[in-house]
Symmetry: C2
Subunit: 206 residues, 2 copies
């Protein structure tokens, strides 16, 4: 995705270095914040010189922007994949919850970075992110409403229940330290979010 913007043309060199840059950015941003991280820090952490960094990124802000772009594209692909399957309401909710949580597991640093550093991005990218959050919530709300019409669910406030699920999903990347401390694993958490949702929908848990 980032190919065309890069000065380094040899992929065998470019890809491992880009990976190093992303990982170091996540690490340093998690301790100092992206604005608090200097390119000198990043240079030390990656082992790439200041000058060298600039053949991989256009500018410091460009680096944050690229990370957000890659993350957004990935999520869109996965979500669209699920929606294409046209599952029944219950299975659809299950698929969304489990895939989002497993996705966060794999890309947890990306999620966390994008959430915490959203402010530093361009207005355009901020709007994309907010729209994405609304869209995610509306998809869940839509499925709940479909289930209500099909007499499978009972729920007074579908919009608030949807936001409850979104809140629980986000906790999985925002508060990983807490779940690790409590010894809750990915599978357990996803199962809980799903069963709690079914309880609030007055639906039977299989």
């Amino acid at each position: 995705m980032h190919k065309e913007k890069m000065q380094i043309k040899n992929e065998k060199i470019a890809i491992p270095n880009l990976q190093k840059i992303f990982e170091a950015t996540f690490k340093l941003s998690n301790t100092h914040g992206f604005q608090g991280m200097s390119l000198r820090d990043l240079s030390k952490e990656t082992g790439i010189s200041m000058g060298g960094l600039y053949s991989y990124i256009g500018s410091k802000n460009d680096l944050a922007s690229v990370i957000e772009g890659v993350q957004r594209k990935y999520i869109e692909q996965v979500l669209d994949g699920i929606l294409k399957e046209k599952l029944a309401p219950k299975e659809s909710l299950r698929a969304i919850i489990f895939s989002e949580i497993y996705m966060m597991e794999i890309m947890s640093s990306w999620y966390y970075f994008c959430f915490m550093e959203l402010k530093g991005l361009s207005k355009e990218q901020q709007n994309f992110a907010l729209d994405n959050e609304l869209r995610g919530e509306e998809i869940i709300m839509g499925i709940i409403k479909d289930g209500i019409e099909a007499k499978q669910f009972i729920c007074e406030h579908p919009e608030l229940l949807a936001s409850q699920v979104v809140a629980q999903l986000q906790q999985w990347h925002l508060k990983q330290w807490k779940f690790k401390l409590r010894g809750v694993n990915t599978e357990e958490y996803a199962s809980y979010v799903y069963s709690s949702l079914l309880t609030c929908l007055s639906a039977e848990i299989n």
Copy 2:
């Protein structure tokens, strides 16, 4: 609280100016992040000169630190007030949810700032904040367990249900833009969080 550290001794001058400084900090941090905000920005926003600012704060980092300290003290006072009342499990949960949400309503900028800028604070303050989150969750979990023992509640995973409530509470300051957009008011949201919790506890809603 911040009195002893300040150079300005006349309260009638100091308090309004400190207020201006806090509000401007919240505003600028919400758009650029605290690290991204310069004291020149803060000087322009408050109308106080660079030199003037330094008679109110010890340093830039000190400003963030003071904000976190004030916020923490406030929350502790309110929580302790509720726990002293020794209410029945249901009423206790209700009191915690409603007071926390109304508190966030009043001090929303403070909550948001402390959440987003936690990284920039000293290790000591970070630990305080994390402990506070754990403590808040444990209080809720404890009340749920009390209610289970008293045969008032049924719940398989008290610790996950407690984290669900904490997640929902945090959304109220993290995502205020969303609730405003959806036209959800404070009272409605607090009621929903409470009734959703009772549903998950298989308890009757009065």
